[in-house]
Amino acid sequence: MKRKLRIYFPFINAGLQEATTYRANWFFMILGNVLGCFVSYFIWNAVFLSGGNDTMNGFTMPQMVVYIFLMFLTSTLISSGGTYDIGEEIRDGSISMRMIKPISYNSTFLFQELGNKIMTVCILIIPLVLGVEICRTIFTGEIQFNIIGFLLYIISCVFAYLINFFFNICFGFIAFVIKYLWGANMMKNCIVGFLSGTMIPFTFLPDFLEKLFLFLPFASLNYTPVMIYMGMYSGTELLFYMGLQLFWVLVFWGLSKLLWRVATKHLCVQGG
């Protein structure tokens, strides 16, 4: 185990280096996404003003604000670029080079991304969580921050990240079928964006859709961690949704292994 970690340490470092090199570029992207949050904020503000009620489908306006910014934080924390990396390798054929290396592709990539994530966490999590908590405190008049809830949120984010990581790797194999990865990825992002609750909380959907979406793997990505942070789940419900997350981690992990095996066989047959 120790030896294994030592092999992968350089990858963490490389990811961290990469992240600091392109920091200005990264910073502008984050700023752009924050602006997107403000667009959502104003729309919801107008919606609550027009609706006339303090609560809509279980959400008050302050809760909605918290929801929007937590969604943004969660998506940034769990984002993963596996689709492009594996897709590009399939396209230019360098995936066959992977087969002759003595370390697992998934792991090298995972650790490289972890390095990248360290910076994201350091820079984003403190101001955002602080902002969200100040917001909640002002709106309700008392401190809402709950350390256990926060820790559960972090654990849930780790599960979500793993689901996203393996899902993206699986999706990358689509490059065998669709050459235009950018377009395919965009399609995926649209669908995942909606089904993971980033655009709108599931409670706003018709009943049967809400139930369906909760069971799909996408809810385990963003929706579950955010709901946990907001204290919407407790007791058996909490256990159930985190268990579901774990279930999807295993499913996509298994699927990625399977696809990898199919793909390498495919390559052998083709002689690629």
């Binding site: 961290l16 600091t20 200005a24």
Partner: protein, 333 residues
Amino acid sequence: MIYVENLRKEFKKTIKDPGVIGSLKALFHPHNEKVIAVDDISFNVPEGEVMGFIGPNGAGKSTVIKMLTGILTPTSGKCTINGKNPAEDRKNYVREIGVVFGQRTQLWWDLPLRETYGVLKEIYEVPDDKYKKRMAFLNEVLDLESFITSPVRTLSLGQRMRADIAASLLHSPKVLFLDEPTIGLDVVVKDNIRNAIEYINKQENTTVILTTHDLADIELLSKRIVMIDKGKNVFDGTISELKSKYGQIRELHFETDTQNADKVLAYKEHFGFVDDDISIKTEGTGVQVRFNSEVVPVSEMLSYTLGKININDISVKDADIEEIIRRLYKREV
């Protein structure tokens, strides 16, 4: 044809300390330093000349070429081609020149090669009849016929280079810039490309500026060499001038049955050669001696060698240009 006067280019370079902390520091408090890439370079090239433009890595060759092709704006100084200046009239200036960067392509990657020429015809406003003639000529010289209908991404490196050279010549430029035109090519393809360049230079009196790391390109194609190092002019003259100025290096080659000939001869001790002035290579019975003929004249070397050991066969020749330039680079760096 080409006049380059006191060309100078400065870049700003951000200095970054290593590691994460260094990166963060640079983010908030960037520290810039001025780097002089090209420092007061001047030369002229008459019409129809093939000029070899050389220098070690990082000498500023590419920067000069990029200023001459209108890509970079000089910090000071100027260059004119046919009386035109890229700073004043870039569009008319670039009509006079053709450019090939060996490591990049200007061909349309996803389309059949023919399409690239169709678009370039429009960009350079080549009339139909001229275009037809030109394509026939380029096809004859560079032999494009066999792959002109293939998508560019499927071409081999050699084919791509021929296609790129043809693309740069489509508008019959007066000056052709070739930056590493033979890089990564095999011997036969290199030969083809050299022949084509030579043929075009002879046929159309095209002025050619050639940068390369393969000195055989220069030796075969150009009479004149301009060499720069650290942004400064180091040498400007013909190859024979280069040889007479720096090329006192001669090569002595002989066969001998004497054991340990180099020890017996002990040139260094006898003549007092210093480091660079002599080198000896032994291979079986053959011995190759390179020496500086300014320190010791050839005749003296010969008589000393013949007197000292048994010689079966002996010859003397001029050192090749590669050897001279290797020595020049070393001395400068």
